[in-house]
Symmetry: C2
Subunit: 156 residues, 2 copies
């Protein structure tokens, strides 16, 4: 990597952002970090033909929880109608399949196919690599653990 660069420009020199309520505002900071992380993930996923949202759904489908579409919607804060579109897309790619939930014939269980597992695996590497270069770059291993733990408490 000689002219690597791209990554993400965090903009705004520190000397101009001194006094602002927003800097103490967790909501604002979360929004900004999310924007950085989202951009990072989006760029990393382009070569894989996935959007951040598709990647998230694929991740759930490839895990061991066998979620219904409704589970996916709640977990990712998506409207059920949005899940339909994403699952359609992933199904067209051959990455996931819909299976009838034996406990409730109305529900579709989403499962990653073999091809989907493989695609998720490689995409995940790219996403993690990009993340380590952007949002995690400034944190020590201990801080990363702490941040994860605190976010987890807030998120659920």
């Amino acid at each position: 990597m000689t002219d690597s660069s791209p990554v993400i420009d965090l903009g705004v020199a520190p000397d101009r952002i001194d006094a602002t309520d927003l800097l103490d505002d967790i909501e604002f900071l979360v929004a900004r970090v999310r924007a950085i992380g989202s951009l990072s993930a989006r760029q990393a996923l382009v070569p894989h033909g996935l959007r951040v949202r598709s990647y998230a759904v694929l991740s759930l489908a490839c895990g061991s929880i066998s979620p219904t579409q409704r589970d996916v919607a709640e977990f990712l804060f998506l409207d059920p109608s949005q899940v339909v579109a994403v699952v359609d897309e992933l199904q067209t790619l051959g990455y996931v399949e819909r299976a009838q939930d034996p406990r409730d014939r109305r529900a579709n269980i989403i499962r990653g196919t073999e091809r989907g597992q493989a695609a998720y695996s490689t995409a995940k590497e790219s996403v993690i690599a990009a993340r380590d270069e952007t949002i995690l770059r400034a944190l020590s291993p201990e801080e990363r653990v702490t941040l994860t733990r605190l976010l987890l408490k807030v998120a659920f």
Copy 2:
């Protein structure tokens, strides 16, 4: 408050979200917390006639940094063209005014008016109250400080 309730449904019972890569994924957690915080702030701002984005710009305009539109764009990760629209909106409301930057005649400095300061003040109370009920509810005071500090390191 007898039937308070509304607030935000975090959905998904813990017993179904056991094993998932995403739970260790800071990017995912940040996205989810941001969704919660954004919804919380949006609801709190409805009575004030402000959107989250307008509120953020108003906050910067009412601070002591006298930002240009470009500063606002970089700080909030907005495209400069989006800042135009928000400032137009706030100006129509009489909350901010554009002033020529003496150091650069191309640049507009955005300042909160007296009316804007008042509106920001009351809106801020609502936003903070809503936030304490949602994303900060699960954290101790010490944890809030730690979370803020870590997010700040990542955000800039």
